[in-house]
Symmetry: C2
Subunit: 192 residues, 2 copies
């Protein structure tokens, strides 16, 4: 009945992750090749796919890990007290998300959980993002006619929109941060 995970398995998996991480640091996410990872880890290609469903599963781990680190940092700082503060505090996160077009695409593709039973690292981060921002909103003085959770989801939607527009040549005039602030002021502090 016992199916203990063999030491070998852990070592192999660790090496794969380690080398993948190193390769990403050297040449970025988009340039990552499975063949390079296995070559440097000293295993066969098939071994890679015994450890990760596909290349994207590894990508999710790498990118999700980075998102988690950045979220951690954003959480461990005093609550921002206005829209500009919220934008500033989320900036490192948004910078990373837009550091490569490829990264942004992967994040969007995996931001939702495909199945309840298996919530991927990126989907988890997206939830954490909403929870974090909802907390900030609850603590601050923003509109009260809708609840903080919904407002936080809106912040995420506007952040995604702003990031997408940053990649768009037609909307390059306005900076990412300026655009996001405009959206969030209209969303969080409407003056009707």
């Amino acid at each position: 009945m016992s199916k203990p995970i063999q030491q070998r398995t852990l070592r192999t998996r660790a090496r794969l992750l380690e080398e993948a991480d190193a390769l990403v640091r050297e040449s970025g996410y988009e340039a990552l090749r499975v063949e390079d990872v296995v070559a440097r880890a000293g295993v066969a290609k098939g071994t890679f796919f015994a450890h990760f469903r596909d290349k994207d599963a590894l990508m999710e781990l790498l990118i999700g890990g980075e998102l988690d680190t950045l979220l951690e940092r954003a959480e461990s700082v005093p609550v921002p007290r206005d829209v500009a503060g919220i934008c500033a505090q989320l900036m490192p996160l948004h910078s990373f998300m837009t550091s490569e077009r490829y990264v942004f695409d992967v994040i969007l593709r995996y931001s939702g959980a495909a199945a309840v039973s298996e919530i991927g690292p990126i989907a988890k981060s997206f939830d954490r993002y909403v929870t974090l921002v909802a907390g900030w909103i609850s603590a601050g003085s923003y509109r009260r006619d809708v609840d903080a959770e919904l407002l936080a989801e809106g912040v995420q939607a506007f952040a995604v929109q702003s990031m997408a527009l940053q990649f768009c040549a037609l909307h390059a005039a306005q900076s990412f941060e300026a655009r996001l602030q405009t959206y969030l002021r209209a969303w969080l502090t409407p003056a009707v």
Copy 2:
């Protein structure tokens, strides 16, 4: 100096598009294979890439064409007079966008123009969407503290968010239309 486009070119391109369209109607967008398209069009693989930069360029044409048809229809109907009306009128468009996960991903990836000089069909549709909705908002009685263009961009952001959440198992409880209406009421008619 004359460089008239040969009849042959037009015929080949038309055949490729025609067969691709037929294949999509038979098996959906995700299942489309370049090899199948060229086989049915009776040309070599290289010919395909002489007509389209890559597979995605064809995908953009097919999906962009569909979006245009649906936008046309949405434009040729009386202006909706409330949030529910806006959602209803955009429904066919949103349904198509979420008809396949793959379609949604392609749309997101190409919703922004990579270069001002070359705005793709999908990016064009996204602009048209914003213009259309901005017109509706100007004609209706919604908040006036920010301009219609910005509000329309917000509508698009919330539509994208709602569609993304529809693919997410964690948020399957609420229907797409209900969620979008909740967002849009909060966005277009805040009651602070």
